[in-house]
Symmetry: C2
Subunit: 207 residues, 2 copies
Amino acid sequence: MQIVQQSLADQIYTELKNSILRGELAPREKIREDELASRFGVSRTPVREAIRRLSDYGLVNLAPRSHAAIAGISDKEARDIADLRVELECFAIDHISGELLEERLPELSRYAAECIYALSIGERDRSFSEDSLFHIALVETSGNAALAEVYRRLDARIQLLRVKQNLDEDRLVGYLNQHSELLSLMKAGKTDEAKKLIRIHVLHSEA
Amino acid sequence: MQIVQQSLADQIYTELKNSILRGELAPREKIREDELASRFGVSRTPVREAIRRLSDYGLVNLAPRSHAAIAGISDKEARDIADLRVELECFAIDHISGELLEERLPELSRYAAECIYALSIGERDRSFSEDSLFHIALVETSGNAALAEVYRRLDARIQLLRVKQNLDEDRLVGYLNQHSELLSLMKAGKTDEAKKLIRIHVLHSEA
DNA sequence: TTCAGGAACATTGTACACAATAAACATTGA
DNA sequence: TCAATGTTTATTGTGTACAATGTTCCTGAA
């Protein structure tokens, strides 16, 4: 078995990303390479690379010769991202063929179930990440790799948004149940209804 | 006056990007940090950072512990990217308000004119980059920052695509003239026709 | 001949040191 | 007191050295 030895930069990137998405690092908070390096017990080099990558995914803001800072999301940005999500996911749904859907359905169903299960045992973070996986898989099912790539990039900020929104438990359950509902509509070939549901789902708007 | 001193990594990123987009570095070609460092007369550190960033923009493929390689675009990817472009730009057009259009119109018109002028004096590369600027500005005019960011990211590969397509001069002129035609339609509020034209424009399909 | 194993080499990953610049602070004059 | 300016300090940008790993080529046995 091939042990995929992740680079330190990869590990630190993942760690920092999780910290940010768990809200342990607040928006606008300054980041110092030196401090993180000693915290992780490595040199600045991989930390620096991790920070650059976080910046590429829009999780930190980088000003040249100046401190990096954890990125926040304004209300306007939140709306923009949500609007864009609706567009991208509807585009995906329009392009999902029956065969590809069939193929990916078990995976999609699993994510949908995991979301709800994780929430029920109090693992809100994991529920959120499974939610992300569901939507990423949905978009991938379109077969359009460029779309999938763009969406994966957007996902980091979508996750940031979820944390910020901080929905209460009841609404969250209702929200997560829409996943399997969506799959049913798609299986039945009700594309237009599926797109309507996505809009409601993403914008958290009522019917 | 504030002199914005670009970092070496920035400069090298730009240089390499241009080299790739000019086709001086062929797809699948291997990249060695060491070689580039000595070519640019700097250490590996900024070169490394530039390569990472190129990878983030999809211009080079990066495998851990292995060589980086200039990215190519398959026919399937080309279609995917074009489809996605149509979607994103139509989304933008739908969201462009009269006021924002008014504000940006001079800039858009200038890009449209520069495209044609640059081509007429044989500067095909510059014509292409002005073409990119036109479409980026168009998308920015929507006022949706998330959309603009996503599109700018996609732009690197769109440029790669243009080089690969290598349209003949005649078709290119016709293609570039569609820019001002598009602006006219939008000014007249003929949104649906503008979207139809974008589809034709991007997919290079006839009416 | 061909395949397995290993040694030599090439190249990336990381640590560390120094240089360059921005931020913070103190000092002086009004 | 306050503003302007010089000085110190903190932090990022870059260069260099070494470590870890992947690659290539050779050797020898089936």
